[in-house]
């Protein structure tokens, strides 16, 4: 479904990714873990076109999407719930969700049942239903996170990129977010998940990659990584 080969990227003169390769099969939940500054978010940004890669290949169903603009990649079915949520604060929750379906409403992608999907998104996130007509900027951090995820789902994506969905959330909300991720996985949504809570991420994922300094350091089935002494020591200790 999604394949990244030897990806390199830089911010200005500073090179951040030094050849990242990973693969997400259809229906799989793959997680990308690693310490701060390892290049996880940059990898996500390169895949969704927020930044242009400096080298390597990004393939979506075998077609190269590397270097395309983010709106083109979105139309091909890559939805990105970005780091920091990035909801549109001056617009209502409902408008934010409709904007998630922008490509479907404007013939960039198959339209399908947008109204029905809006309803299903609000079922999945009941807190959002209560706040449907509220401005997104007035939501709490946790609600904004749910809105960012729901908005990305409104694309009916081939691949969903989730960047740090638990960042800055209270423990009870973190649990709720992981519960929703599990549910999406059961529904067959293909996902690439970047997480700081490595243990929780490996707990729900099929396959995992551990990033270090802009490279993939270790990879393997999630269950295997959970028991890898090296991974355990570096990322799973400290009560995460």
């Amino acid at each position: 479904m999604l394949e990244v080969k030897n990806l390199t990227a830089a911010y200005g003169q500073v090179s951040v990714l030094h050849g990242v390769s990973l693969k997400v099969e259809k229906g799989q939940l793959v997680t990308l873990i690693g310490s701060n500054g390892a290049g996880k978010t940059t990898t996500m940004r390169a895949i969704s076109g927020m930044i242009s890669p400096t080298g390597g290949e990004i393939l979506l169903e075998g077609k190269s999407i590397g270097g395309l603009a983010s709106h083109q990649i979105s139309k091909l079915g890559v939805a990105h719930s970005p780091e920091g949520r990035r909801v549109f604060p001056t617009q209502s929750v409902k408008d934010n969700l409709l904007l998630g379906a922008f490509s479907r409403l404007t013939f960039g992608r198959e339209r399908g049942d947008v109204e029905g999907d809006l309803d299903r998104a609000l079922d999945l996130f009941p807190r959002l239903r209560e706040r449907k007509d509220q401005l997104a900027g007035t939501l709490s951090g946790g609600e904004q996170q749910m809105l960012a995820m729901a908005r990305a789902l409104m694309l009916k994506p081939e691949v969903l990129l989730l960047d740090e969905p638990s960042m800055g959330l209270a423990p009870i909300l973190v649990e709720e977010v992981f519960h929703i991720i599990k549910r999406l996985k059961q529904e067959g949504v293909t996902m690439l998940l970047v997480e700081q809570f490595a243990a929780a991420a490996l707990g729900v994922a099929d396959y995992g990659y551990v990033m270090e300094n802009g490279r993939i350091a270790v990879e393997g089935p999630a269950a295997q990584l959970q028991n890898d002494p090296k991974v355990k020591e570096a990322y799973l200790g400290g009560g995460h």
Binding site: S70, P82, F88, P89, Q91, L99, L105, G108, G137, G168
Partner: protein
Amino acid sequence: MAILLQLLLSGVALGMIYAVIAFGYQSTFATSGTLNFGQGEALMLGAMVGLSMAGNVAGGPYINYWAMIPIVLIFGALQGAVVERIGVRPAIKTKSEFGWIMSTIALGIIFRNVAENVWGRDDMPFPSPLPTDPLHIFGASVLPMELLVVVGAIVMMVGVEIFNRRSIYGKAVVATSTDRDAAGLMGINTGLVITFSYALSSATAAFAGVLIAPITLTGASMGAVLGLKAFAVAIIGGLNSGLGVIVGGILLGVAETTTGFYISTGYKDVPGLILLLLVLSVKPAGLFGKSVIKKV
């Protein structure tokens, strides 16, 4: 009392013209953080193109005033799109902070020169589509055309506001204004949205041009001062407040007509500029300017 009312009404009509042009400044600033300093020339071109179709020049009139308006709007939109593609996009691409200032000013000067060569340097009368006999309201006399200016300005701004709130394309414009990167992730072609905002901005200016032309004179130099004053209005009202430009426009319009009458027409531009300086020193974001609070 009648005189004061007269001055207020004339001031409001003038102020609404400033407001429409200032509204155009806001639309490009919102999506791209840039301004079209050739806005006054866009107004002038709109009026001149309108005059060529509906005026007594070059063997005209060819069509009536009302049929001319949509053509002028389309012309304005195309002209704005050209300004964006030639003058602004390269500056945005190279992340040049000031490139667009010079290029939009330069394009404005070029447009003015072209207009001088096509239509001449003399001001021309623009035939009024409405009766030129003033209406009497509580002792004040108002030209029907002045009422049309106010109504037209309000219809234009309300129309854009409804588009922004109701249609998915308008929502995309608002989203691009708040967070361009996130808008791109939604599948919104933000470059196209910026071109659109320039088209909209010049179309509103061209519209203002044909609204005001019948009550002033029409000529290649008519836009420069209007464009500058509308810029002052955009600063006074706040570059991100729709209500602000209406209030700012009316304040400036009324300040000009009252000063012109009670002090001297020679000083009529002064109060507006004093107001501008006051606002800049006391509330730099404008009277109604606001900074959006983002939760992190």
